[in-house]
Symmetry: C2
Subunit: 504 residues, 2 copies
């Protein structure tokens, strides 16, 4: 590894050290000291972001597109170093980090194209009606960037949902400066990505306040960031507890701001009778693969399968267990996440209503898969069983018959995804289930597994609470830009002032 | 007047009386008893709305368009009675109520056309890529209605911002059942409009839970409504204090929901030097007319004029005062609003920094105009001077020169509107001012007065806090429907399930 992190914050174009440091806890390789963030640094970064907005918020779409593409180029120029520090810190395999780098740069370039196209501005004009009583003046409308945005990256995607991830790309594309609170699970990865953004800012000659990275290590950093008056919105991916605490701070501000939190989900799958009859083994193997992929550390990890009682359901459960037995232990993102996984498993072990199908003991920073089974009635009576266990833990909910599924599904909380496995013979039942499931989730899948989120115009990665704090938004795909825009009407503007994006 | 209110709530198709009543306080004519709402009635209405959603949320756009048009027809069929009870309760003149009825029915018909058109669904399809590794399934996206919506009407628009006003029209158009908390300033007007909606539900054979009206008279009604688990969003127009309290309740729910509150604004106007030089008298007369219109009871009432020091500014102030002197007392919407206006005036009288230009004493339920003047520095030092006084009270802020305006404007809080009065010679200054003003308001006007809000595609009636609680939304115009929609992705849906709006 040629990259050695210096451990500093990037505050408006300057690398700044703090007096106190924390030591990183990589899954492999060398630990490094990193500066701990402070509320004073947050204030400096937010103030610089506000200053930057007066120019960056008025750059042309072409200028911002080039900036996003330059960030992607600069990340790629550091490709091997990014992979090396990323694998070291996260324990994720090299191929995964390389793929994630591709996705991260792809996202930046997608947003560049998206703003070049300009449809996101949603421009509308109602012409003047001079003969009306009273006369109507011309009115134009377009979407404008909202101001500085705070971003909290996720532990489980150190690139695609972090420093230059989807939230940052969407905000910068909209015209909003960004202040990132670095994730303490991958501070070195954050630093090298911040270096790439810093270099892109220099090459594009933008105001340095357009981007700052404040390393964490202290809860006060996040609190100071979301409550700073210059911050106008927050993008967050993380836990329900941490996310809700920051959401509450945003709502309680003198000037409340939107908090776009993506807080996780158990992503239930419904196995309909004809599909189960046709391919119980295949479905079990497929579920096991999706469940255990990346040590189960995906927001869209399918933690629950709703399966009719009977021999075919039993075969599905057995096929899942068999496939999971062949999955060895995998390194988790942090010690804390590994411990939380063990605690989640212990919760299941402590319940009399829950039958262990295939259980393992996970040690240290690793996780091995676990599979449990519960009756639908018992599931509905115990809310804790529907709470996310981050990691490769699956719960089979056995239900009387397929016809019971629509009623049962009403009991679920909000999800990122819901899935139907069906064959032609299940169509009538699926038609009854679909209206319930679409109220529960931002994305509804048929005959697939929810891990794997396409970065496209039609993607919704969000959903009703607690999957997200804002059911009207997505954090993946081009629609994500809408979170950082606000509509403005311009009435009776003289021709001389109809400039820039208004001039279409 | 042929219409005599019976004073009952409309709960899911049934007129229901409560044990306790309050007596209405009309500006003129007969007072009537009205049932006081209760949390139990709220629960009944919300439960019926949730039940109704399973059919109403899946009606065709054409069915909903006809429903909206039928509501408009039913309101018009009661036109004279609506005007009679509306003028009696609100004290607003007959012509105003007739115009507002036209606007209300026009809004309903505009939303009918808007959903027929279907662009609001924002449908997107990313086709399958079967040759890719891994293959990409087809993904479709469209906007879906969110579920039952609570609406709190405004005192100052008993028709257009109340029972069947813009919030109700937008929610019903989206496919969301509505529960209205009736405004105690015009309960009889609410009742006759609820009758019209009730008749339209019957004619269109819809689930009766699609609409309920619960009369107020008790603070617990609103609290129970916004905290009911079946309610998924709130549309509100009213005071900052009341709105913030309800916003806080929505944010603190176990499942937080969006609260779309429009809380008022002082709508500052900036008079640029060349315009002031060319037409000080005309601008003063125009401001006085806008300021005193409808006793100043508009959310977009221009309460503040920022005017350069010097003789031309003095002439503007004198012209305004002269025009206001010719405005007699006007009846206000409620006793409480009239008292709040007197209290607001007393606040100005108590300030040494503020010079009274033209003051009056208002009595009983009436308001007469008042005009004050303050130096820019003193204005910035006293936050209370920038708080809305609901009624015909104007404040002139005298500023050194036009060049000081952009810096000064940064000190304003969020507004519904900001206005520039300018001539050709002011273009350079306007170009500097415009970026500041567009960050402060949802609508920016040139050479006009903000009273008079067009109901069009390009309208934004909203703005940064405290003008509204959600700077990304509008409560007027077709964009208002977006508040009650959420995007949903459908991945790999079989052809048999690609139905309804998805089938485009």
């Amino acid at each position: 590894m040629t990259f050695t992190p210096h451990g500093k914050h990037l505050i408006a174009g300057k690398w700044v050290a703090s007096e106190t440091t924390f030591i990183s806890d990589p899954a492999e390789g060398t630990a490094h000291p990193f500066s701990v963030g402070t509320p004073e640094l947050v204030a400096q970064a937010a103030t610089a972001a506000e200053e930057a907005f007066w120019t960056y918020g008025y750059t042309s779409r072409e200028e911002r597109a080039i900036f996003l593409e330059t960030i992607a180029d600069e990340i790629e120029a550091r490709g091997d170093d990014v992979t090396a520090i990323g694998t070291s810190e996260s324990g994720l395999p090299k191929g995964r980090l390389e793929g994630e780098r591709g996705r991260t740069c792809g996202q930046l370039r997608l947003f560049a194209q998206h703003i070049r196209d300009g449809k996101y501005l949603d421009r509308r004009t109602d012409g003047a009606l001079t003969d009306r009583t009273p006369p109507r003046p011309e009115i134009r409308m377009m979407e404008r960037p909202i101001g500085p945005v705070a971003v909290f990256g996720a532990s489980n995607f150190p690139l695609a949902f972090s420093t230059a991830g989807g939230d940052t790309a969407a905000a910068l594309a909209a015209g909003c400066p960004v202040v990132v609170k670095g994730h303490s699970a991958h501070p070195g990865t954050g630093e090298i990505i911040a270096e790439a953004i810093h270099a892109a800012i220099g090459r594009c000659k933008l105001h340095p306040g357009v981007f700052s990275l404040i390393q964490g290590g202290n809860r006060k950093v996040g609190e100071a960031l979301v409550t700073h008056p210059f911050i106008k919105a927050v993008g967050f991916t993380g836990s329900l507890g941490g996310g809700r605490a920051l959401f509450d701070l945003c709502a309680a501000r003198p000037e409340p701001i939107p908090f776009f939190g993506e807080l996780g989900s158990v992503n239930p799958m419904f196995l309909l009778p004809a599909a189960l009859k046709a391919r119980a083994h295949e479905l079990g193997a497929g579920w096991a693969a999706s469940l255990a992929m990346g040590a189960g550390q995906f927001c869209t990890n399918p933690g629950i399968a709703v399966v009719p009682e009977g021999a075919e359901g039993d075969a599905f459960v057995e096929a899942t267990a068999t496939a999971l037995r062949n999955t060895g232990p995998q390194v988790m993102l942090t010690q804390g996440i590994a411990k939380a996984y063990r605690d989640g498993k212990a919760r299941f072990d402590s319940r009399n209503s829950v039958r262990p199908v295939m259980t393992t003991e996970s040690e240290g920073r690793t996780a091995s898969p676990n599979l449990y089974e519960v009756a639908a009635e018992a599931f509905l009576e115990d809310h804790t069983l529907s709470e996310e266990v981050f990691g490769p833990l699956g719960l089979v909910v056995r239900i009387g018959s397929g016809e019971d599924m629509p009623g049962f599904a009403r009991g679920f909380e909000g999800q990122l995804t819901t899935t139907i496995h069906m064959d032609d013979g299940d169509t009538d039942l699926a038609r009854k289930l679909l209206p319930v499931l679409e109220r529960k989730a931002g994305r509804l899948l048929v005959n697939g597994f929810p891990t794997g989120v396409e970065v496209v115009d039609s993607m919704v990665h969000g959903g009703p609470y607690p999957a997200s704090t804002n059911f009207g938004a997505t954090s993946v795909g081009t629609l994500a830009i809408r979170r950082f825009l606000r509509p403005v009407s311009y009435q009776n503007l003289p021709k001389a002032l109809v400039e820039g994006d208004l001039a279409l």
